[in-house]
Amino acid sequence: MIEIVLALAIGVLGASGVWLLLRPRTFQVIIGLCLLSYAVNIFIFAMGRLRVDAPPVTASGLETPALYADPTPQALVLTAIVISFALTALFLVVVLAARGATGSDHVDGEEPRG
Amino acid sequence: MSVASMPEWAATVIAVLAVGGAGLSLLGAVGLVRLSSFYDRVHAPTLGATLGMALILVASWLYFGTAHGRWLPRELLIAVFLTVTTPVTLILLARAALFRDRTEQSEPQEKPVPMGGDQPGG
């Protein structure tokens, strides 16, 4: 059941993100990228299958893999979170610089011509 | 010790505390929906941030104490920090709202907004 919910969540986040990504204003694109990266992070995470109450923190000693959630996707998501955070920040600053240089907050740096 | 060996009364107390805390929080959140003006709504979440939180944290402390014998009240950290930090947001927010209401006189307010001393309009 939670699989359905989470799949829908990924879909809704992804759709919202994509919609914003395709919008003309830079700020919309930033928010879109953030939402998309949420979607993707959960997507990566979901690739390890879902487990409740099985955090991959072991006792001290040899362990049975079946008892724990898959740690690898979690590690990947952590890296992805960091990178997308960094790039969101960079994108924001470029957006500001573009706005300062062109006066427009359109993604193309100029208002669309009629 | 584990959950299985936990006395039923303790389990009951923990459950009641948790449900009570959650209920209070919900009530606060409901207030957020139901109250009609912003200044009234600011008060609502405090329910969850004080007693609601306290009940749940006590439940947690009791649980880990009875079930795992871990009686050090780590939950105190959350309680203290939350108590100290929540007002910061609320104060700033109320201040900001007041300022906005004062400057935007045109927008009718349900309740009168006090002017800041002699400041005409803000």
Binding site: - | A18, L32, V33, A44, T89
Partner: protein, 93 residues
Amino acid sequence: MSARILEVGLTTALVLLGLALVCAAFRIIRGPRAQDRILGMDTLYLNGMLIAVVFGIRSGSDLYFEAALVIGMLGFAATVALAKFLMRGEVIE
């Protein structure tokens, strides 16, 4: 039996807190003004933190404590920034 009592009680608490999230989200979405949204956000964080604590009790693990503490200790940074922005038009002066 204890386990069952806990199970029912804590799950109920989680559902109640989930409903509280919904109420807070309503305020965020509905507004009408920015301060309402920020207030809703604050409430959302608070209830999220409580969910983390209750979920920790329910799973009998203290691995979730830090997450709750992060919200309790640092969550206000986001809402303070929002409130300050509202008040001054600038977060850092």
